[in-house]
């Protein structure tokens, strides 16, 4: 039998009134593109989710983000969130970059419609995964990185898992 989406996941089509900043960054994203010589990179989301961000970091010996770039498969909010985050972390110590939350990203964008909060979450999730991977590869996590995943990392994973479950459900028929 055909299995349904959980009813609470049904789209509401509330009008998506983006702010000027989102529009600007959608049309002219900053720091866009791959970085082949990145010191750290990570993805969050997946094509199945309809949202995916790749975050690339060039990191100095002093653990400062010298350059950050992104790629995004997603909506305007997704592109804008990733773009603004790259600007927010450039020239910052990794420790400071780590502390940026999805709320900070949303605020910097001049707010987002609530159904788009997950775009900020995904951008921060990708950044933190990149920073965590970077330190894990070095063999030691600094004390400012908690052992367990933070909210944004967890939610990025949750979104990826949910998308997998939903796409499997539809294939049952």
């Amino acid at each position: 039998m055909f299995e349904e989406f959980p009813y609470e996941e049904l789209p509401s089509r509330v009008p998506l009134l983006y702010g000027r900043k989102v529009l600007e960054l959608f049309r002219n994203p900053k720091n866009l593109g791959r970085m082949d010589d990145a010191d750290a990179m990570a993805y969050a989301g997946s094509p199945v989710c309809g949202d995916m961000i790749a975050m690339y970091l060039k990191i100095s010996d002093e653990e400062v983000v010298e350059k950050a770039k992104f790629e995004s498969y997603g909506c305007a909010a997704n592109i804008a969130a990733a773009s603004i985050l790259t600007e927010m972390i450039t020239d910052k110590k990794l420790e400071e970059a780590w502390k940026i939350s999805w709320r900070d990203v949303t605020k910097e964008l001049g707010g987002l419609p609530s159904v788009k909060y997950h775009c900020g979450v995904l951008a921060v999730g990708a950044l933190r995964r990149a920073i965590r991977n970077y330190h894990e590869r070095k063999g030691k996590l600094p004390d400012w990185i908690p052992k367990g995943e933070t909210l944004e990392e967890k939610q990025a994973l949750e979104e990826e898992e949910l998308a997998k479950v939903l796409s499997k459900r539809f294939k049952l028929e």
Partner: protein
């Protein structure tokens, strides 16, 4: 509450406007507006149920609209046309009212997996809540109901079947006559309802030939005014009222009749059927110009739905891989081309269109889908312009994507 003003300002001017989002709303034809205007405050603005001159004028207008529309679909009498305020209401009336009126015969309802939301949602929520059992029959990769599965689902306890004449998203022209015959044979107690919103005025649709019991018609989809729809109810078929209030000229949908909108709906219908064959070949030609142009100039683009005569003449639905529909909708807007996408954002995830899932598209294919509908008033220049700007839009979004 954020204002849309700054978005509109930031949008800026465009080279040319091509509105292809006729699925969601449409510009009302100028002749239709003109026909409606006197009915707001010059004449016939009374209630058609009251015995004075303005009431009689209104009554006359309602009757004429019903009569004309009955004739366009081959109905036997104007009493078979029941106006509602939208096709959403007409579909809800058909499903709920049809089930409740027939509940002594059984409790099974059969629909397909690709029905419009005003059929799909009542089937998910309202009908099960009041004790009806909804069976969803799958469609094939082109959106046609799989007939063997349809037959299997039907029995004597089936009281209502609802299959759209033309799929609203992918333009599949269903073999409705065959499906009705199957229902008459396997489910003699069932009413056959069809949402004909996407057939009316664009695909030949004759009630008598098809022998359906209930059919939904839409005004805005033929560039009539919004705020009006209709449900055809075959003479002798019983449907229960689902809202109550002051009865007017019609007994199934209480409330003051929207006479100017009925006049507009009638006028838009008149225009749609005036040069029907010419208009349909015009739309079909532009449709194929758009489809062929897209598929030949943009790689990794997939047409959703059937080709040729089995597809509605106005429907173009294409998935662009490595693009997200919502972003493409915005990107095209900045170029003056207005379209829509099947995918919609929820709190946690982007949900693909249930129709594209039903025809077996993968999520990543569905997320990049764009729906465009061609009207009888579009021109070759409009389509050429779309074909000029669409590849750039897709290319820019793909250049951002890591996938």
């Amino acid at each position: 509450m954020r204002s849309a003003k700054e978005l509109i300002e930031a949008h800026g001017p465009v080279e040319r406007d091509v509105y292809l989002d006729l699925e969601n709303s449409s510009p009302v034809l100028p002749e239709v507006v003109e026909a409606m205007l006197p009915y707001f405050n010059e004449r016939a603005f009374g209630s058609p149920t009251i015995t004075h001159k303005l009431g009689w004028e209104a009554y006359e207008a309602v009757m004429e609209a019903s009569q004309r529309m009955a004739s366009y679909i081959g109905a036997s009498s104007p009493e078979e046309i029941n106006f509602t305020n939208s096709e959403t209401e007409a579909n809800n009336l058909a499903l709920l009212g049809g089930c409740i009126a027939n509940k002594d015969k059984g409790f099974k309802v059969v629909v397909s997996t690709a029905e419009p939301l005003s059929v799909d949602f009542p089937c998910r929520a309202l009908l099960p809540k009041i004790g009806f059992n909804v069976i969803k029959v799958p469609v094939n990769e082109e959106g046609f109901v799989i007939q063997e599965r349809f037959e299997e689902a039907l029995d004597k306890g089936t009281i209502l079947v609802s299959i759209a004449a033309v799929n609203h998203e992918i333009g599949t022209i269903q073999s409705l006559k065959e499906l009705v015959e199957i229902v008459r044979d396997k489910a003699p107690n069932a009413l056959f309802h069809t949402d004909a919103s996407d057939a009316y005025g664009r695909v030949p649709f004759n009630i008598k030939e098809l022998d359906v019991d209930l059919a939904t018609l839409s005004s805005y989809k033929i560039q009539g005014p919004r705020g009006i729809g209709a449900l055809y109810v075959k003479e002798g078929v019983k449907v229960e009222r689902i809202i109550e209030g002051q009865m007017g000229t019609q007994t199934l949908w209480p409330g003051l009749e929207n006479v100017p909108a009925m006049v507009g709906f009638q006028k838009a219908s008149e225009i749609a059927f005036k040069n029907f064959d010419e208009d349909v070949s015009h739309m079909r030609r532009l449709r194929d110009k758009l489809i062929d142009g897209i598929l030949s100039s943009i790689k990794d683009a997939l047409l959703n739905g059937p080709k040729g005569d089995r597809r509605a003449p106005d429907n173009v639905n294409v998935s662009f891989l490595r693009c997200v529909g919502e972003a493409l909708t915005m990107e095209l807007s900045f170029k003056g081309v207005y379209v829509s996408t099947g995918s919609a954002c929820t709190r946690r995830i982007t949900l693909p269109s249930h129709v594209l899932m039903a025809i077996g598209r993968r999520h990543e294919e569905a997320h990049g889908s764009i729906l465009m509908k061609i009207s009888r008033r579009h021109t070759d220049e409009d389509i050429s312009y779309v074909l000029k700007v669409l590849p750039e839009a897709v290319e820019r979004l793909r250049s951002i994507s890591p996938a």
